[in-house]
Symmetry: C2
Subunit: 244 residues, 2 copies
Amino acid sequence: MKRTVPSPLQLKLSARFALSDEELTIIHHFERCRRTFLTGQELIHEGQGNLSAFILSKGWAFSYKILPSGNRQIIEFQIPGDFLGLRSVLFHASDHSIEALTHIEASEVPTSEISEALLHHPRLASAVLWAVARDEAMVVEHVVDLGRRSAEERTAHFLLELGARLKLVKMADKTGYDCPLTQSHLADALGLSSVHMNRVLRHLREQGLLTFKKGRVVFHALGRLNSMTSFDSTYLDQEGSLLQ
Amino acid sequence: MKRTVPSPLQLKLSARFALSDEELTIIHHFERCRRTFLTGQELIHEGQGNLSAFILSKGWAFSYKILPSGNRQIIEFQIPGDFLGLRSVLFHASDHSIEALTHIEASEVPTSEISEALLHHPRLASAVLWAVARDEAMVVEHVVDLGRRSAEERTAHFLLELGARLKLVKMADKTGYDCPLTQSHLADALGLSSVHMNRVLRHLREQGLLTFKKGRVVFHALGRLNSMTSFDSTYLDQEGSLLQ
DNA sequence: CGATCAGTTGAGAATGGTCAAATTCGGTGG
DNA sequence: CCACCGAATTTGACCATTCTCAACTGATCG
């Protein structure tokens, strides 16, 4: 079987699951229908029905909800290897919107194909289940951020988590990572005003903890950051799974 | 096949999925190992490994995390029909704790059995996948509550959501529901201090919107509540699923 | 009848929001 | 190359929400 460079999704899944050739073929098949989107374009709109999921292969996206007041809450940022709109497909309707944060490349996977794969390839179903559970674990950590951490701890914790996720797809190292987010994006993810977000970032910089600037996040004192936020990435790179 | 009164889980799943007799048998089998827990007892402890999941059949529980500061963030409350610790099983380790809020009855389902069922009963796997996705949708709504809604909106929205979930298992109607939560529980779920929680509840009562008192939540003005919180329960009672 | 725990209230402090005005910076057209 | 534009960032001043501390009430239970 011919196989070119493995996709981010394949990397992510096969780091945890010994997938058969047949299963790899299905994953490969998933990633057949390539599409590109421009910065700011909407991939999925809240309330929309009868939709596809996407697998992000290049660039960043984010999922969010808009309240009647006009306020925006960003749920999560998505990076290469992540599913987009998987939950929407399972529900046959989207409860959130997804927008391209940069120019992105993604593979469109129609509902029928996912459904098909789940019914006939149980081990693949387990892998998808694992991916959904991992997403949930991240959102849960986000709840803790918003509910019980100060603006500063929350910011540091969130940027550390993003770093850990990026590290899994080789897009970050110990020193930091390239990051296309604006301060407003970060503010809308962390439940802060963009003005306060700016002050918090300045304070973190002045304390010599981290720098968020010009498309790059730099960690200056990982040790202090980890202890200040009690960051633990176990839930991200967990080896275990139902398929061992 | 002999079948007594259907369990809450069976109710919840079969409202959405046409499950075969074989699948019903497996669900029934899941609920074979009944256990009871006293109020305040821990079912799952954060960091614990090698664990079982539970299916809650009677009473309330809640999942939470404790921060080094001692602060507690409650992730979700669980009611009859809900899985407990399903995500933990998928990860082989728990990233949160679960405690009995009342005296509860739950069925213990060992990891091996879940794993077994997922591999050999794809339609059941889809049902489980749906349950996990629904959990995630609730946590996402919780993120919006914490990030972008005022304490008052957040409280009203959360109590409405709880009502909608309870309605699905016949434990609530339009007027309200019995609710064993203390104000401190609510505060720890909504990211507020219990003092402020008390003031918010008083204000909601004084406006004639809802009453939270002595183990019961009463809605006085559902219309105003729904519009004030833009509450939409679609994601809870969604008919659709991958199995139609 | 203490003891304990949930709920209630007040006063002052802290965190974070809003409004408004610079300032920087990367493009873009002349 | 330079002037200009719009978006992102930065800062100040003031305001609102929410927290903390502390005291007090009320119910429940052995």
